[in-house]
């Protein structure tokens, strides 16, 4: 272990079972599973564009519920792309109707 990682990871005695080591490592990570984290970030990025103050859930649809026009979609997608460092092509966008589907797509892109 070198650098930052060495200061975070507790040094376990060689004799300890590997499972315990894993448990202890995970205490340094957020408690939320990855998908929940992605969803939380997406919801955060939706808010500046949620002009109608819609209560946003995984089932919320971009076109029908949020009533976004093409320029809003462009700006929102650009923010998502910057945050997750991915590309969401228009071809993929065409298949994404809801917040939940976007989270799924992001999970897949980052896998």
């Amino acid at each position: 272990m070198r650098g930052l990682a060495a200061s975070i990871v507790p040094v376990a005695p060689q004799s300890r079972p590997i499972a315990l080591l894993k448990t202890r490592l995970s205490t340094n990570e957020p408690l939320m599973p990855d998908r929940q984290q992605t969803l939380a970030k997406v919801l955060e990025l939706v808010e500046p564009f949620n002009k109608k103050g819609v209560a946003v859930t995984e089932g919320t649809r971009f076109a029908q519920d949020l009533e976004w026009d093409s320029l809003t979609v462009l700006d929102f997608v650009a923010n998502i792309e910057d945050e997750f460092d991915v590309i969401i092509t228009m071809n993929m966008q065409a298949e994404i109707e809801t917040i939940g589907q976007l989270v799924d797509a992001l999970e897949k892109l980052q896998a």
Partner: protein, 400 residues
């Protein structure tokens, strides 16, 4: 039975509501007679044309008209065939030679329309596994070319160099990349920062296609377009253009220095599976293109017209698409479709034709009165045009 037309109901209703106000249908105008590139008779009234894209006024050029008549006599009214079968006449080769000379490029390929040139070239060179990075405000023919080729489409914010660069850097290693840009964007009349955008595209290993439909003949020292004006035409892989604007007839083309360019003639479906242009059309185009090579005086007068109209409209209090005149297009921004249609009609009654543009063709849902100037608009006509805008603007409450 599901009526396949029910999807058009919202548009049918919007149109009916607009026409119910008693306004003349802005999308159904008939030019009864055309006197010159700048004047026509509409509804029996002499009308100045300020919405034709006839930038260089070549439609009534005596040499151009004579060349068309001669070809009509010598080669007949049409080719009745594809370019790759019986549809290539001497005139088709001649117009491609004229384009090669005009652009100083190795290859030129002529299509039956400008729309088909974008559709054909883009769909043929970028396939399912390739990425097309394009400006969000790109013309419909560019988007349709992307869709026909089934390419991966990556849009970026209009004229945003950083947004283009970011997306280029995220495209998977080794994938084919085509950046598609326009010299002049026809809705607002603004130009692209091609110098920076082409440099960023090349640095990231992308090929570049630039649509110069609205700049040919006018912008750049030799009228080759914005890429020439910004000094980077040699870095552009493909230039798309049209005969239906400055050239003054109909047709589309692509010019390029790519060594394998000619293979497109066999694999490009919108080139192969359609009839070629009539002999009279290619003859008028070739004559017009060669005359445009030596039209510096006309280019200068067109710039004068553009600057004067822009400054005059601004002074009257109209909101314009650009802070400075950047092309021969000046877009007047209307508050909504109803006001735009009323203003359009008031101008027509004054004796002035402009284009009414509305969503989805326009960016950000705007309604625009789009003015395109001609090198043959006289200084007096530009003065008349400003007087008509003042009268119509006051009558409709657009200005005080």
């Amino acid at each position: 039975m599901t009526d396949l037309f029910s999807k058009f109901d919202p548009l049918i209703e919007q149109r009916a509501a607009l026409l119910d106000t008693g306004v003349t249908d802005p999308f159904n105008l008939v030019m009864e007679r055309v006197e010159s590139p700048t004047v026509a008779i509409c509804n029996g009234q002499r009308t100045i044309l300020l919405g034709t894209y006839n930038y260089m006024g070549m439609t009534f050029d005596p040499d151009v008209v004579a060349a068309g008549k001669k070809a009509l006599d010598e080669f007949g009214s049409g080719t009745t065939g594809s370019r790759v079968l019986n549809g290539t006449y001497a005139g088709h080769r001649a117009v491609e030679d004229a384009l090669k000379d005009f652009y100083a490029m190795d290859h030129a390929m002529v299509f039956s329309t400008g729309y088909q040139a974008n559709l054909g070239v883009i769909s043929t060179i970028a396939g399912k596994d390739d990425y097309i990075i394009l400006d969000i405000d790109s013309h419909a023919s560019i988007y349709d070319g992307c869709a026909l080729g089934n390419a991966q489409i990556v849009p970026f914010r209009h004229n945003d160099i950083d947004a283009l660069e970011k997306r280029l850097k995220r495209i998977p290693e080794g994938a084919g990349k085509l950046v598609v840009l326009e010299g002049v964007y026809s809705m607002m009349g603004d130009i692209a920062p091609l110098k920076e955008m082409v440099a960023v595209s090349k640095a990231n290993g992308a090929m570049v296609l630039v649509d110069e439909a609205h700049s040919m003949g006018f912008i750049g020292e030799n009228g080759r377009g914005v890429a020439e004006a910004q000094g980077i035409i040699d870095d552009v892989d493909f230039i798309i253009g049209t005969f239906s604007k400055s050239v003054g007839t109909v047709g589309g083309f692509c010019v390029s220095n790519h060594p394998k360019f000619e293979i497109l003639r066999l694999v490009c479906r919108p080139y192969v599976f359609t009839a070629s242009l009539p002999p009279s059309v290619v003859a008028t185009a070739a004559t017009s293109i060669r005359k445009l090579m030596n039209s510096a005086d006309k280019r200068e007068h067109l710039w004068e017209n553009s600057k004067r109209l822009h400054a005059g409209l601004r002074q009257l209090g109209f909101k314009l698409g650009t802070d400075e005149p950047q092309s021969a297009i000046i877009a007047v921004i209307m508050p909504d479709l109803e006001t735009g249609a009323a203003m359009w009609e008031a101008l027509l009654n004054e004796g002035l034709y402009v284009n009414l543009a509305r969503p989805p063709a326009t960016p950000a849902g705007m309604t625009l009165l789009r003015c395109s100037l001609c090198a043959l608009h006289s200084s007096e006509q530009v003065g008349e045009i400003l007087g008509m805008f003042a009268a119509a603007g006051r009558a409709t409450g657009c200005i005080n």
